[in-house]
Amino acid sequence: MVALEASAPASRRPLDGLRVIELTSERCALAGKLLADMGADVIVVEPPGGSPMRAYEPFAGDEPDREQALWWWHYNTSKRSVVLDLDGAEGADDFRRLVSTADVVIEAEPLGRLAALGLDWSQLGGASSSTAAVPARPSTDAGGRNERLIWVSITHNGRERPDPPATDLTVLAEGGPVWSCGYDDHTIPPVRGGGNQGLQMACHYAVATLMAALMWREDSGRGQLIDVSMLAAANLTCEFATYFWLNQQVDVQRQTGRHALPQISEPTQVRCADDRWLNTGVPPRRGPEFAALSGWLAELGLASECPYTELLKLGESYEQIDILHLDADPLSAEVFGAGRDTINFLAERLGAHELFVGLQSIGLACGIVYSPEEMLADEHFVARGFPVEIDHDGTPVTYPGAPYRFSATPWRATRAPRLGEHQDLLAD
């Protein structure tokens, strides 16, 4: 049922040999995970007492315990953990030593904190002289700087600007996504999309940019500073809301379960007989699509019961209904409406999964609204090996698996580290 990638023999991965030091934070944990699951040696540095993420609910078995936080488990797979007190001389020294062996540092510390400790990019990274020889990896100059170091800094809005208190919710609110999400009824508050996307957007840009910087370093021998703005990342993840403003200076308005647009559009979600929802996509427009829908109705024995059968027949004669100009063509509008009504008719009689598979099988794009656990259990994703088992000291735990399938160097994950599990890294 579940792919056994986690226990397969170790295979090569694209980031093998790369060392990353991550200062633990909910704002950069995903960036470290994406690198670690692809082979980088990501050492997550935790403060004494552990990462704040170890205190986030929910816990395995609902027992509050810093080793049982599911948030920690999810965002810290494949990493190693050391505990350092950066405020103390010994911890700061250990951090400097670690950084001197690293290719990449990822941090999301409050602005100014690391600089005050003498542990910032300007103190530990960057070429100290423009005439320095190109270093072999990793290398420190006389001043203790690692010239090959790439430093990724994730902040609210960059290192040059104020750093207000902010969370996933507030970044998504002022960054734009929230404006577009919610319901037709605007007395209901707009909605934050779930899953910590305000934090994750910045991590996605951080990793893509970091990979480009690594490519450049292959030739130049030099690292650099990558300054990532969470506010800007959210602003760039709003699709039409942004393009309508940039091009036409018009604000979009949010609509239940579908695109926010300047104008109100037709609903695209339908509740099915089992109370689950289906996103209907675009109803049939082409002749063959009407024919296929009629055929499926007949197969289900519902053709005579369905009040739209005659209009569907008419639809079969269309090459393609021009849905942008239905106002001028009442008959086409009626035919197009019949396709939509037929899907609603079917939804009253079928469960969401049967309707989803049935419509897709006749070529009509649509999507069942699954909960996360239902997606993980679906036969398609199971057959592709998406859910994976990760060993927790003898107990297998099912996780969402690879976001991408690399044919030669596949994704592979191991469980998140216990607090300070790899402290002996500092011994030598």
Partner: protein
Amino acid sequence: MTEPAQPHAGGRPQVTPLGSDRLGELPPDHCSPVWPKAEPGALAGIRICDFTGQLAGAGATKILAALGAEVIRIEDPVRQGRWDILRGTQPFVDEHRGIEAGGSFNNHNAGKLGITLNLRDDRAKELLRDLIAVSDSVTENFAAGVMDRLGFGYEALRRIKPDIVYVSNCGFGADGPYASFRSWGPIAQAVSGLTFQSGLPDQPPAGWGYSFMDHTGAYYMAIAILMALYHRRRTGEGQWVDLACIEAAGTLHGAASLDFTVNARPARRSGMPNSNRSQSPTMAPHGIFACDGDDEWVAVAVRHDDDWQRFADVVGEPWAGDERWQRLSGRLAHEGELEQLVGDWTGSRSKHTVGRRLVEAGVPAAPVLRPSERIDGDPRTAEWGLWVTVPHSAVGDARVEGLPVRLSETDWAIGRGAPCLGEDNRYVFGAVLGRCDDEIAELEAEGVI
């Protein structure tokens, strides 16, 4: 990289101009690329043979182009590039209409080169083979199987260039029981669980009011291309990355998936989802509250008891001193009542004032900003240089999105707008592939390009 460049000591390394590594074989009149970039970016020297479209694909190669890669976008001259429906659909600037005017298209393809190939013709296939042979990566987001039908599936690509990095991006992936199913952003969001996880109790799914997974699928595609190129740079080995957008989406639920696989607690349960609240980690009050005015809202996140003290000080009304609110457990136990009180307090106030006063007190808060407010009314995005004006050959000046990152040595740049259909045929078929002007004119006249 096509050729490992020699590192240079000191200053910026010299990176060969686009396409110039092959110019030695060409007659001199082919030697001037029409579009030299002022500053070589981090990915200078990387060439992408790009079949992507829409946002889920084109958004990925846009990032690569901004970081310095030479992205050559391939379009069908017979259908005038309309496989990508965004080419000719709104929003539009001013009176501009048609296949050069689509505002989304012009955003997603800024900084790229554009060529046309009619792949029904064998001569176009030969040109494509030549282009693949001098490219580092082939990228596409067609439905599964389309590249095979065109004769350019992964095995065919490898025969042309053994170390090619091929990245395909479709909703359900290249194989599996639903491989033939079709998808776009809202469908990927529905099937992956993202739509379900966005909403309020006793309401239909609110989902994402846009194609969130087209953006995010593009992010994963960009990451995949670069990780595979990095591996190839170090080992010489190419590969195929099968990116199923819905699987990428299925990794984005935070701890919710594990709460089911470990604790048997499904996300589909009474009272859920309630995504304006914060269950992981628990915070209260945490939500979006109405403010003075029409459709005006403020987001407030009280992270812990210290935040509550600061929040109560800003409110300064008797109810905020209630003993029940001093501890998280009390605020959670009466969360609905607390939200009502907070909403009553924000309701008569400006969202900007509430946001500013709470932030000044140290409490995370922010107004819900409209597009007009965050793009042209928020100096922070302008100061970042987030909105870039680029020249577009048909539309004139076009405003497009930049990147939310700054690189200290090789910063991103977007030098021009999206290519018009076939705009760079002469440069690519001439300077890159070595065809002479007469031959290009003939290919054009005969509908091959």
